[in-house]
Amino acid sequence: MAAIIETSGLTRSYGDICALKPLDLCVPEGEWLTVMGHSGSGKSTLLNLLGGLDRPSGGSIHVRGTDLATLSEDGLARFRRDCVGIIFQQHHLIPYLTALENVMMSQYFHSVPDEAEARHALERVGLGHRLKNRPGELSGGEQQRVCIARAIINSPRLLLGDEPTGNLDHKSTTMVMELLRELRDEERFSIVMVTHNQEVAAWGDRTIHMDDGCLVREERTKSC
């Protein structure tokens, strides 16, 4: 299967601190990769580099054949707009917009807003009855589902999750994970998800463990 992500000698330093040591990683199309490790092990740094939110200090990083290290700022913005969907732990929803408007905002920056399509995306994540509610009026799990709808609305080929269930209870976590699996199976996009939680990591196809900026272990996981 073709690789959606290929890194070679990828490093990232902040001054004297080396957050990510030379990393070689390959993620095939359609794979769900989870990244585990302690705080400060370089998980989020890796995710930021894969999402084009940060630039590497060394090495190469190819996503769908595009070398992100060589892209201009505009090129990176286009890459984030067209190729990647990101789900954050803190949701980062716009508080004064409704759930529907939050999803449409993502469409607006991608191309043009389409209310019917945004409504359909929210219905797919089970929020058809919460379209007009603002983030403050939604539970944590519901907010995270709005984030998922927002992340998938532009049909990205790569979905990145930075602790997407970090502040959710067990029931909401299961619901979000089931939803991600269902969407992945339908849309055939790849997922790279950072988590501390072993149970959550078990939803992926493969898990890599990081420590002090290095990939220390890799394992195939068994589906839940």
Binding site: S111, V112, D114
Partner: protein, 444 residues
Amino acid sequence: MLTALKVIPQLLCWAVLVPVMCRSLTGMSTAVAAAAGFVAGVAGENLLLAYVGGELPFRPLRGICGVIFLLLWGASVWALYRSGSTSPESGQPTPSPLASGAAALGTGVLAGALTLCRLAPLEGGAVRLVPYLTLACAGAAVALGAAYAARFLPQRLVPRGIPLVALVVSALMLMACSVQRLDLFSPLSMEVMKFVHDFVHQFFESMLIPDHPFFRADVWGYIGLLFGDKVGLWGGLALWYLPVLLIALSLRLERLPSVAHIRQGAARRKLLASFIHERRLRLAAPLLALVFLTGAAYQSRFPATEYWDPKPVEVSANPAGQIAIPKKGEIDLEDGKLHKFSYRQGSREARFFVMLTPAGQLVTTLDACAICQPEGYGQAGNAVICYYCRTLIPLETVGKPGGCNPVPVPCSVKGDAVVIDGMTLVNTWESTVQVTAHGKGMGK
């Protein structure tokens, strides 16, 4: 040096037009045709100035400018009519090389002729050899250089079809309006003002507007606005800008192509967004055309020409009521320039000027015409200009009544002085001004 500065706006317009035409039409051959046309236009117009003289070399040019402006109006209405049935993906057909060459040649001829007119001496005759040859070479060089610059013009900004026509016509209008005798905006404003006045007058005559004291205050308050001196300007500006605005509107209303066949929502939206973006970019040409038209209107309203406009010298009448102005006193009345005077009789005052016509006759006229508000005249070479409507009056016709000519006042030459009857002068002034100055504060 100053002569060269005069044609900078024209050459800049030309430098914008050629690359756009090159990219929109058929490339380098368009530039060559445009350059050849420019040189031919410059040469042809200079020949006309040299061998025909007078107003005749300007009339056909002014006529052509009027016609192309009317064509722009037609094209804009057509574009608006078609806007609902065309879409960006249908595109514009590429013109044949012959048609492109002919269009570039025609534009070049017109641009060359208009630019040369900017250099035409006010006293008549051809442009001198050095500026004439320099202009022809500069125009050709700008055209050929601009063809090279055209490569760097983004394809998505290149106008085609009617927006291209709007850009070309507006640039030519800017070139024309810099030349007093080719200006179209002032006559247009004047016609609008006359039409509004005639229209309201006709309503009044037909008794459609009740002439009752009860209505007078309110109704006439509003009708008075139509007689204001800005009616012509605003109406003229509306007619001036409207075709380009209609073209911009037609682009904005262009139907988007169907994307229903694309299954994936994001891909569908992406395609729609790219069409919308391109449609937005194509508004650049009408916007640039609006800038050109604004420049043209500004040139027309505030021409760079400096007029001979002396301050009126106060004169008085002898006990018999005759005003006698010596021909060769402090002022030389026979130097070919207009000389302004003012005469006061009690509380009544009149302004007039005396000048020697090319036929060698000393004439006396009011500093006002029978049509416009009495803003007076200035002299530019072999013509005087009405400051109100910007109409140029050839010196040959000064002293003759009619149109926007200064109203003649009977005078006689007795010995070394021009003699005018004070009472006749004041009466003629008052009867003229009463008709033309509608309301308070009109005139100087």
